[in-house]
Amino acid sequence: MSDMLSAAFITVFITTVIAQAMPLMLASVGETIGEQAGVLNLGIEGVMLVGAYAGFVVTLSTGNFWIGMLAGVVGGVVANLAMLVLNVWLGLNQIVIGLAITLIGEGITSVLYLQNYTKSPASLGQAPKLAIPGLGDIPVVGPAIFQQSGIFWVALLIALVLAFALARTNWGLSTRSAGQKPSSLDAAGGSVMRTRSIAVLLGGGLAGLGGAYLSLITTATFSPLLTNGLGFIAIVITMLSRGRIIIVMITSLIYGLAVAIGPALQVIGFTIPADLIKMLPFLIVIVMLILFARSSVVPPALGSAYTRGAR
């Protein structure tokens, strides 16, 4: 058993953790920005699927993963336009719109995929790697972390920049105030509409990017309902992280661990039923909820549309 814990095994393990954590992290960061601005997006599951499908189709036809990721972002933004127009501009119920987006996203991507790709299921192959000179040569960790695709680094950078921006810039302050007390932002001369619009589009773009990461890098293919509840896990993680993106990143990593540990145990030689292994990530989410749900704090104005002058 001990020889199973070879360097190659650990490398694969770490790679799997990261591959599973990244889509969730991107989507959760997007959801965090939306929720901090007061918009709860239950449509994130559908938005991720649209992003994943758009990324898959574009990468397949262009052969370029970067263009594919961009397509994922565009797909996510377009899918979230429904939330923007119906909720932020027209003030309709966020929960209804969110569920509708999820259902529509699931439906459209499944139909399109089954119509176009079932006869010849397509796989994308591997995204080009970006080996970082020096660090990439470190044994075990080198190939696992420092020979990732360049997309990984860009995604990580986006999350870190947004973490800083949300906490320390005037944009972040406006965004958070739109979720805390929109009337204050309005009275201070800011625009609740504009702030929430930006947050919703950014959230959609990030969820789409997360979806594209899932289809392009994590699974290297698309299949109907590929996200399999990942969007809802992102909502849970967002609420538990209290708007702090760094915590979102850490919790996503824990989720990645939970997904990766099952197959790893099997490889080592534990015989665990496959069903249990599939349940593990969800069990961990449930345990996290039981332990921390009481301390989850959502912005006071979350879920309510803002009308000037209404009390």
Binding site: R168, T169, N170, W171, L173, S174, R176, S177, Q180, K181, S183, S184, L185, D186, A187, A188, G189, G190, S191, R308, G309, R311
Partner: protein, 531 residues
């Protein structure tokens, strides 16, 4: 936006603004001169707040103009107002509780990166100007109300104002904090800014204002200019203002008009009742509450209310008043301690059994918790007796019995409603409050907990509500009165306890002049002691 040496005039001309069903402002014209404090007086609903919303860019007038020194400007949004140097301190706090002072002040800046250093410097300047000290890194929710208001004033002047508008700034302050506010306003005025002070208290208008404009029913019904106000004695000014404020109603309101308008410092007519001889109705022994942690909980509260006694609980809004009243009403679980009612331990009994014992609760959230807006007035009046005879028989509602009871209560409490079938939500705040009081005080009430009973009501209803409570106590009922309005507490209560962060920090027997200062002392002491 710096002020000029010569005084500038901001003139409002023929401002008209109508909402469905009411004309909030009806051809209002007035001039605001820099370096002067212009007081705007009037009852709730007189159109003061609408006028301010128009100045602040929150509302657009249907017709009329605003001009700076004759140059007409169009204030289309709050941002435009800020750019013109109009700073407004709204009646309801616009601070974000979860933000620090500095974050609150920087909110609305358009540059990408925050310039914390410059902001701290600006706060320093403004704090010097106002003569106050503000910790830039304290959370807004940790500040006392007086300090929060200082931050709001600093925020209103952040971009260098030409006009500072204060909407009912004193309504929730202690006497000491009001004094500080007066000093700050004097300093702002000395800087050459125009100040508009909205109040419904005459003595403040006289003490702080240079000139006074009175609004009634959306119209400008009286103006006392600078020279005139200076020439008047306090009594003369009062008479002039009262005549304008109440118009033809003055005779009807009579001697109480000046009381209502806060002309003098509130005092209680001393009624020598020794409550130690009376039986104890409600007793809390070291009671702490346990809620969801969203607001401040009651923490080790010990108090007694005797038969026929009104016990006032003073304190800044949100300091555990909600938790305390819900603990007594049975809506919030007790974490530790004991609640006695008529000597009986009721700590573990629920809302309904307490109601049947005679414990009643008039919530401060009269629109949501207190009434069901979409249901009829009649049903709202019996809603706490669901399933009980004679209104329900074997599960079926008895419309006749309900209507009879509703008619009786509508008569007795003077609820102005087109019919008992009218939806409660369509009535005015005052009438909704009367529904609540009628429902709670009927059918064997022995103790009533009232939380901010007159908040946001017009003067006549305020007066009526207070009379109802005094009557109830005179007939042997006990009242636990939680309020943020110090004048109200002094007018009604036999004793006043001060609550701060969920604990009672001191009590005063309300036996004459000076109570306000004593209570204010406990309130400020409690705040400063914990900061």
């Amino acid at each position: 936006m710096t002020t000029t040496a010569t005084s500038e005039v901001i003139s409002l001309r023929d401002i008209t603004k109508a909402f469905p069903g009411v004309i909030a402002n009806d051809h209002v014209s007035l001039d605001i001169v820099s370096g002067q404090v212009h007081c705007l007086l009037g009852e709730n609903g007189a159109g003061k707040s609408t006028l301010i919303s128009i100045l602040a860019g929150m509302q657009q007038p249907d017709s009329g103009t605003v001009a700076f020194d004759g140059k007409v400007v169009d204030i289309t949004s709050p941002k435009v107002a800020v750019d013109y140097g109009i700073g407004v301190v709204h009646q309801h706090s616009t601070l974000v509780p979860a933000f620090t002072v500095l974050e609150n002040l920087m909110l609305g800046e358009s540059s990408m990166l925050q310039n914390t250093k410059r902001a701290e410097q600006r706060l320093g300047e403004l704090a010097d100007l106002l003569g106050v000290e503000i910790d830039p890194h304290a959370l807004a929710s940790d500040l006392g109300l007086g300090q929060q208001q200082q931050v709001e004033i600093a925020k209103a002047m952040w971009k260098g104002s030409r006009l500072l508008v204060l909407d009912e700034p004193t309504s929730m302050l202690t006497p000491q904090a009001i004094e500080h506010l007066g000093e700050s306003i004097a300093r702002v005025k000395a800087q050459g800014l125009a100040v508009v002070l909205i109040t419904h208290k005459l003595r403040e208008a006289y003490a702080m204002g240079d000139c006074v404009t009175i609004l009634r029913g959306g119209r400008n019904v009286g103006h006392i200019g600078v020279e005139q106000l200076a020439a008047y004695s306090e009594a003369e000014a009062q008479d002039a203002i009262l005549a304008a404020m109440f118009g033809d109603d003055l005779a009807a309101v009579g001697d109480e008009a000046s009381d209502l308008a806060g002309a003098a410092e509130a005092t209680r007519e001393v009624r020598a009742i020794d409550f130690d001889d009376r039986p104890v109705r409600l007793e809390l022994r070291d009671v702490s509450s346990r809620g969801l942690g969203r607001d401040i909980e009651a923490d080790g509260v010990t108090l007694t209310v005797h038969e026929g006694e009104i016990l006032g609980i003073a304190g800044i809004d949100g300091h555990g008043q909600g938790a305390l009243s819900e603990v007594v009403a049975g809506q919030r679980p007790v974490a530790s301690g004991t609640v006695f009612f008529d000597g009986e331990d009721i700590t573990k009994s629920g809302v309904r059994s307490r109601q049947q014992l005679g414990v009643r609760y008039v919530t401060d959230d009269r629109l949501h918790e207190g009434t069901v807006g979409s249901m009829s007035v009649a049903l709202n009046l019996v809603i706490k007796r669901i399933g009980q005879r004679p209104f329900w028989k074997s599960g079926r509602i008895q419309p006749k019995a309900v209507d009879t009871e509703a008619d009786r209560l509508i008569q007795e409490y003077g609820i102005r409603t087109p019919s008992p079938e009218t939806r409660a939500g369509t009535l005015s705040g005052g009438n909704i409050q009367k529904i609540l009081l009628a429902r709670e005080l009927t059918n064997g009430a022995k103790l009533v907990v009232v939380n901010k009973p007159t908040y946001g009501l017009d003067l006549k209803t305020v007066h009526l509500v207070r009379e109802i409570l005094i009557d109830f106590a005179a007939r042997g009922g006990s009242v636990l009165l939680l309020s943020t309005d110090l004048d109200e507490l002094i007018e009604l209560s036999h004793r006043i306890e001060v609550i701060s962060r969920g604990s009672l920090v001191g009590g005063v027997v309300n036996d004459g002049v000076g109570t306000a200062e004593k209570v204010g002392h406990y309130m400020t002491g409690a705040i400063e002691g914990t900061d």
